[in-house]
Symmetry: C2
Subunit: 347 residues, 2 copies
Amino acid sequence: MSPRRQHASASTITEVAKLAGVSIATVSRVLSNHPHVSDEVRQKVLDAVRQLGYEPHRVAQRLRARQSRLIGIIATDITNPFLNTVMACVEEVFFARGFTVLMSNTNADRKKELNYLSMMESEAIDGLVITPTSENVDRVAELSEKGLPITVVDRRMTAGRVDVVLSDNVAGARAATEHLLRLGHQRIGHIGGPLHLTSGRERYEGYREAMQASSWPASPDLVHFGDYRRESGYNAATELLQSDTPPTALFVANNLMTLGALNAIHDQGISIPDDIAIVGFDDMPWARSLNPPLTTVAQAVEEIGYRAARLLMARIEQPDLPPRTEVVGTQLMVRASCGAKNPLPSP
Amino acid sequence: MSPRRQHASASTITEVAKLAGVSIATVSRVLSNHPHVSDEVRQKVLDAVRQLGYEPHRVAQRLRARQSRLIGIIATDITNPFLNTVMACVEEVFFARGFTVLMSNTNADRKKELNYLSMMESEAIDGLVITPTSENVDRVAELSEKGLPITVVDRRMTAGRVDVVLSDNVAGARAATEHLLRLGHQRIGHIGGPLHLTSGRERYEGYREAMQASSWPASPDLVHFGDYRRESGYNAATELLQSDTPPTALFVANNLMTLGALNAIHDQGISIPDDIAIVGFDDMPWARSLNPPLTTVAQAVEEIGYRAARLLMARIEQPDLPPRTEVVGTQLMVRASCGAKNPLPSP
DNA sequence: ATGAAAGCGCTAACAA
DNA sequence: TTGTTAGCGCTTTCAT
């Protein structure tokens, strides 16, 4: 690393104290609204603060106070509309409560996750919302056991004292698959999420349950797994469509992969829903502007975000609460892509 | 705020020193790879570190070292695909260089922006990438003048010593509008971005230039402004379409508003491109899966992200560089939504 | 090659 | 009501 200059340091509490003619302790008291300060002194200090444009040095504050009013969010993919909406909701809630929210993007990379985890820890955050890269990130369990309030979103965690908010993935996936079965499909393909995530497993499970209960249990060649990114959806769909006996319908485990699958289908000049029906997981505000309007299993995104915030807030205030898991229902948004005859008008 | 327990504090450098039988200075040296340490001592220290699971306290480190290897990103809307992709790129570059990247979401709210700005400052970040809420955020100029390396993305800033990366908005908007004119449209509507952002003004300007140069200069009732969010695009489109003399074509200034406009058009049962043609700003990977495939002015998103990172890195290493502004070209992706007869196949 | 010690800017316990 | 002072955990001279 090459040389680096410090940017001019701001004024310190000492300078404020000097200018106001008081001790630094008094300045500190004024700034943290302690009761026992005379109005006169308070005013002098405030004036000095304004005059110098003083702002407390948060790093120093944190070193002493060990309480940061800082909330961390660690997400696997900030470009995922589901995740970034959840993040925005969490931020909104905590900001309104006077917290500052720091976010980071692991890109589903375990090394990055570890790095951000320890960076958040040493920033002395008061709480963490995370979508872990897998269900057994020891560091998360460890931190939660050490007493750091943590809420896990979108997937379950096996270890640690963490709160969890997620959708009812099995039911959602089952509903999607049953819907396709009801429409007469027999060869229903599934583009699944990573099996090291409970969401991937649960959505797959819902699909399998539905198929099993039907007269046409899923054959393995109908199932491809991706990594929740667009490209993997594109690739999986391409392979599925080019197989000898392609599926007549597709259930895709998340938003980005569905978008990829859509592109793949369009590239092959195949028509939806006539040649192939498709149902995605995760609704998007513009799902009905897709070609054709996309049938999806809608997760209650905002609700998940707000619940995550609420759970975390509760644990911050009361660290000894028993760990809770909240499961939020999903809703099947029937639009044209599944080929249902009379799709209800849907938002 | 209610009571809050500290989560068990990790081991400190003192404990490591004690266990290794050396001074804390030596531990510090080992950890920062100083040359003059005997291999024997180094090994002892490393062992102690491992044994205690010691991790340096970054807050304390920062208080002394005044160099954090921390990069901040402040964005107006993390749910915007353009912005979050840029953010992901910046993160990627800096993480690879050993920096930790902290992001925050202002939701285009000036108060939040100010808060995050001073929070980033007092975290002693080494550099900042920001999409400011307006071109005259004094605090940004101030920080840059104080010596904090700052790169502004997507919009220009009038004050401060900052680097800037943005698209050639005027040219992009002009190209989009001219394309529609060439297709024979005369009443071309524009859903613009906020005029307090240079991107909003420049895209409007490109549209106006093109119209002016045509035989059908834009009438004011053809222009509505939104706030770059989906709802505003929906509302603007709805109003435009319900006017007495609705436009036959629409040029929309960003991705989210275009998606909103699309929804509005679909809700009114109007057909694209027969009844109305539409061109959006910002391409999206799934633009061709929209109904119909969407013609857009594609910004070089990744390129913008990487350039922003490069500019910032350069300034961190060499703070006295003169401020630079880099303008990146756009590309018109012709698809079906504009009604062009033979849209080229496009990715 | 190693250690002692001086702070970084702040908070809070203790004195006055 | 206000001031003095002891650290928080670490880096970095300055000695040795």
